[in-house]
């Protein structure tokens, strides 16, 4: 059973009840080089393993890039 979520503005299907840590693993994103915003709320890094993704979630995965 999978549900649809928006990850960085793109629709994506993930396993129902998947944690953010599992989502990162699926996307090959190291957890120490990402900041996650779930439905406009920042999720602390130590919560990645507990926070679950729900259908319709808006997930933003961001980090530092070059800038002035």
């Amino acid at each position: 059973m999978t549900v649809e979520v928006q990850v960085n503005g793109k629709a994506r299907r993930v396993r129902e009840g998947a944690t953010l840590l599992e989502l990162l693993a699926e996307l090959n994103v190291p957890p120490d080089r990402v900041v996650i915003e779930q439905n406009l709320k920042i999720v602390r890094r130590d919560q990645f393993a507990d926070a679950c993704v729900q259908a319709g979630d808006q997930v933003e995965l961001v980090y530092f890039v070059g800038g002035g």
Binding site: N8, V35, F64, V65
Partner: protein, 262 residues
């Protein structure tokens, strides 16, 4: 009078000792190798960064790939924000990375000139100071706006020399000098510098530092230019501390006027 030896004269922002008066941007570099070479050549006091969505397609290497962020004092920016709310959101995301409480507030008011939005910048500054950030707003060369940002709790103010990325240099020297006189916090001249002599000039008139990005990233030899800027801020600061000689139309012979053999 001193011995002419360098004195301990570190830049301090909100209690943090900043080892160099050059703040180094990290955007628009040809590769992460070039950026790394520049950072090693310049040894900047801080580096600026932007916050963006991760590229999840797995292609394209970030300029920051090879940069050890923990070795630097980070000054993340809110570039991309056109409102105070967006700037606050980006600032919170930057802080959640857990590497820095500094934030360069950047709220753009006009997409063509990339000049800052005065009201949005002020509102974002107030909100982020309230949340405990060390706020360093990018501002225009408007003297009173710089004063208001300072009153709002900015730890430093960052007036532009010229519009972002233009390298047009010091377009309003008088206003920069007035800002330095009027605000009690460090003034970091940001945006538009083109060559190291302009950076030295900023420091000579009392600016606490400069932020340089495009002038280094797009130089013919970026690491060499990075080093040149780092040396320019040292020279400019020493000149400021030394205090310039009189300026004016009164001529003075440098050689003795007596004892000329006739």
């Amino acid at each position: 009078m001193s011995s002419g030896e360098p004195v301990d004269d570190a830049l301090v922002i909100a209690g943090h000792r900043i080892a160099s008066r050059l703040i180094h941007g990290t955007g628009r570099f040809a590769s992460d190798q070039v950026l790394n070479a520049c950072l090693q050549a310049a040894r900047p006091g801080m580096i600026t960064l932007a916050v963006r969505r991760l590229n999840l397609d797995g292609n394209g290497r970030s300029e920051l790939e090879g940069v050890e962020l923990k070795r630097h004092t980070l000054l993340p920016n809110t570039a991309g924000a056109t409102s105070a709310d967006q700037a606050v959101r980006l600032a919170r995301l930057a802080r959640a990375a857990g590497l820095s409480d500094f934030i360069k507030v950047e709220v753009i008011g006009d997409p063509d000139t990339l000049l800052p939005d005065p009201e949005g910048t002020l509102r974002a500054t107030r909100a982020l100071v309230e949340e405990g950030f060390i706020v360093m707003p990018y501002t225009s060369d408007d003297v009173v706006q710089a004063m208001r940002l300072c009153e709002a709790g900015a730890a430093a103010v960052m007036p532009g020399a010229a519009p972002i990325g233009t390298t047009l240099g010091l377009q309003n020297l008088l206003n920069l000098e007035l800002i330095v006189r009027k605000v009690p916090v460090p003034v970091i001249v940001d945006a538009g510098l083109g060559v190291p002599s302009e950076a030295a000039h900023c420091l000579e008139l009392g600016a606490a530092g400069v932020l340089v990005n495009t002038a280094i990233a797009r130089a013919q030899d970026p690491p060499l230019m990075a080093r040149a800027f780092a040396e320019a801020v040292v020279a400019g600061r020493r000149a400021f501390l030394a205090g310039r000689a009189h300026v004016g139309l009164k001529v003075l012979s440098s050689s003795p006027v007596e004892g000329i053999p006739v």
